[in-house]
């Protein structure tokens, strides 16, 4: 090969590599969701936050235990990360994933992930400031269905958005054995 051809070859190779690197696989997405679930179980706010893209938004529809009209809110990554920081202060928490469905986009640059979860954690009454992390009478069990778009941002997989619908139920503190961790 003549030397003057080399730049063109390199350019073509780089372009091909760049094209490949912008695509994601179902396996990568599945591992990414596993990683996100593990971060949630650890309640490790920096990682929970890091896995969200810079323009991440969460749309949440929340059905409270009292059966009133659901509350709805949309929050940005900044507020989501604040919540993750607060979440890290919980001493008892269980996350179970009941299902996971990954739908790859035609261009394989994003995937839509639908997952169903059950979370169990202490329920703190609104307008009452708990004196200790044990200052609660009920656990809340939240069943949610999350639909998230996952894609690459700066070369790493990130949640780009999540739409979640959650249903809350309460259960007496004595009826649940949830270890401290």
């Amino acid at each position: 090969m003549r030397p003057r051809s080399l730049p063109l070859v390199l350019l073509a190779a780089c372009a091909a590599l760049a094209g490949c690197s912008r695509e994601i696989t179902r396996q990568q997405v599945a591992e990414f969701v596993d990683q996100a679930d593990a971060a949630a179980r650890k309640r490790f706010a920096p990682e929970i936050c890091e896995l969200r893209g810079k323009d991440f938004t969460l749309d949440l529809t929340f059905h409270g235990y009292e059966g009133r009209a659901p509350s709805q809110m949309q929050i940005t990554r900044k507020l989501y990360c604040q919540q993750a920081g607060a979440f890290s202060r919980l001493r008892q928490y269980k996350l179970e994933r009941k299902s996971l469905d990954i739908h790859m986009a035609m261009d394989r640059r994003t995937a839509t992930v639908t997952a169903e979860y059950i979370e169990t954690m202490p329920y703190f009454e609104p307008d009452i400031v708990p004196k200790t992390p044990d200052d609660f009478t009920h656990f809340q069990i939240v069943e949610s269905r999350d639909e998230s778009v996952v894609g690459l941002e700066d070369g790493d997989l990130r949640f780009l958005s999540t739409h979640a619908e959650a249903h809350q139920a309460l259960i007496g503190k004595d009826h649940v054995q949830l270890p401290y961790d």
């Binding site: 949630a40 949440l60 929340f62 059905h63 409270g64 009292e66 009133r68 009209a69 659901p70 509350s71 809110m73 949309q74 929050i75 900044k78 507020l79 989501y80 990360c81 604040q82 919540q83 993750a84 920081g85 607060a86 979440f87 202060r89 996350l95 979860y117 979370e119 954690m121 329920y123 703190f124 609104p126 307008d127 809340q140 939240v142 949610s144 999350d146 999540t162 979640a164 959650a166 809350q168």
Partner: protein, 149 residues
Amino acid sequence: MFGALAAYKLAGSGDTPSRAFTGLELAAADSGHTGTCYALDTVLIANGLNRNTVRTWSRPDKHNDGEWSLLLENVVQGSNGPVRVFQKFTFTRHGEQLWLTDVDASEGIPTGLGQNIDGLLDGPHGMKSTPVDRCRASNASGYLFPPKN
């Protein structure tokens, strides 16, 4: 996930106005735009706005450094689940003063300019914060500014 999180708070960060802007005296929302004797940064600190909420500064016009909006956000535990609560204050520079020119807020939170100025001043009044230079004299006056004895 985390749909059932209770209300918690954390400070925010990001693009912010210069000290030359936040160090200006906040004016009242009266017809004469009477000075309040407190710089905006003093008012914000006295109200704890730098640590207890997610705070985002933005410019309505990217080319105009004389107008900034401050968005304060939090998630609180409402009667039926988590709710986003916000207030957005827009401050505009007029000479050596800052005028509160707009307030947007979640449902149920007052948006009147005068009402919000009065509320913002509760902080520095209650904490006896340091006033701006012109109000350090014994005969200084300002909007709702407590006279020295």
